[in-house]
Symmetry: C2
Subunit: 336 residues, 2 copies
Amino acid sequence: MPTLADVAKVAGVGVMSVSRVVNGTRRVTPETERKVRAAIRRIGYEPNEAARILKGHRARIIGLIVPDLADPFFATYANAVQETAWKAGYMTLMAASGHRDEVERREAEIMIQRQVAGLLVTPVGFRNDHFTAARRHGIPIVSFDRPLENVDADSLLVDNRAAAIRVTEHLIEHGHRNILCLAEDEKIFTLTERVSGYSDVMRRARLPVRVCLVGSVSGSVSDQLNFALHSTPAPTAIFATRNVIGVEVLRELQEQSVQIPEKMALIAFDDFDAAALVRPGITVVRQPIAELGRTAASMLLARLSGNGQAESSRVVLSTELIIRESCGCRKQSKPA
Amino acid sequence: MPTLADVAKVAGVGVMSVSRVVNGTRRVTPETERKVRAAIRRIGYEPNEAARILKGHRARIIGLIVPDLADPFFATYANAVQETAWKAGYMTLMAASGHRDEVERREAEIMIQRQVAGLLVTPVGFRNDHFTAARRHGIPIVSFDRPLENVDADSLLVDNRAAAIRVTEHLIEHGHRNILCLAEDEKIFTLTERVSGYSDVMRRARLPVRVCLVGSVSGSVSDQLNFALHSTPAPTAIFATRNVIGVEVLRELQEQSVQIPEKMALIAFDDFDAAALVRPGITVVRQPIAELGRTAASMLLARLSGNGQAESSRVVLSTELIIRESCGCRKQSKPA
DNA sequence: CTGAAAGCGCTAACAT
DNA sequence: ATGTTAGCGCTTTCAG
């Protein structure tokens, strides 16, 4: 592989002229520039990142850490991030933490050690010292989907509370008084927010707050749903706070031939393929995922080019309620 | 950040002893090793990759290039690859080519320049010189899902022909004589294989080969499907050769209230959420995607540790036909 | 078994 | 505007 010195020799100039042309660090005679560019083209020179990094520069790489790359939500997000970063000349080092604190921690450490220029992370845990470490190394961080407590980082969140409030109110408008809220038993910021939005509305309306947890500790969706169906008074509507829960609820209701929305109304968080394909269509909260990815990446890129504010920012985007029929609405119409 | 020299100073030994302990390159006195390890722990030393790479070593990074990271197929695959690589101590640099030849080429070039240890790629095009370049640099390549012609690389493929044959025969067994095959108009290896499997079976059975192309050039699924539905004789079964085509066909048939499978049978390639949720369930060809990802990564890792064969290998995995009801089968039963 | 020195390719700092 | 030098942290080579 040809080096910068090789280019200099071929072009008949000093190494620094070449370096300056390549990086545009300073002005150079048009004549010199021409010679250098010609030489570069002729011998096919490409700068060596490793040497640059060794000199104390940052890699033109951004590190992306998410809980699960196979989750459609994060896949769409990751794709948008990668695309945006690529356009700005950055590659993306991606890692899935598998929802595990220690894995996330180790991944962050290795990325820091690799001198990534910035970190884009959806944190799973509460111990955040690995991220404070990154900040100490001067690596900017943007947290996505969940806030990063006690760390100097920008964050891009979605207004989960508002969405949950909207959902709950919509169901109440349809006349439901017994609304079941299904959530994961793990303590994930987004789910907590959604549950809290639901609870507030119910309390304010003096309706019973019925939150039901599912997961490895609390039992399967199918089991929990069955308990609820046979309780008195039985719920007449369900708010599924997460994409996979929504899909499982749907499967279970179909299995048991429970009429939607007559016997049971349903609104789920996150749009999914099947939601538009099944009859009746499932009403969902849609997050603008690709846009979120582009925004998150842009926030980080802004920091990298030094265009950021001094203090860390917190951007909150809102969601959209996609009305289909599972909430009780008629096709293409607004609720009564 | 502490350097190797710092460790040496603290431990009271030479730098090379430290290097040897860290890399296990050669035997050292237990006493020396103890001192070095203690010092490393004490000052929190982590080796600097950049310096290592500069010395001519490869980065412990593998490059992954796929057409689209948001596509559930590639997302699941990428997740499995990343996980497998991580366990072997490698990080994963991911890039989506957006199905574009030039982008893929540039991404490969940059990865080579970054000294990735190996490349895992799902090529979109036919000009493969960027990959031969990688081979010249001694970077091993595994091509996934599609072969890489004229390049010295391992490949991991799925038996698309066999799957298509199975699908077509299954529909014929159900008594269908007019079977429509819907494919993309772009020349993608996997789709070509599927179409060819279908055609062979139809020709052998002396039935009409009816391949219908959709895409940016040929028109939307909806349009093409409408043409076909009003042709004489109208098809009574459809083979959708790709996940998104399957979903769109399903949507269109529902829209037009075409009874499945009575008026129109349907088998699609790639399983999707909705396939199991809609009534009737959609019969699909399922690829073991996560397993494919793990296998592909393992093939590359084997090369990296020098355990590979001398000549390049070509592994072909087979698929599974998930029988639901859209093909005409009864629930939980085999075809007549 | 251990240490000292050279240099990988690049750029900051200085010199011209 | 351009060239020269030193050194980033590591490992290869050669001496001890």
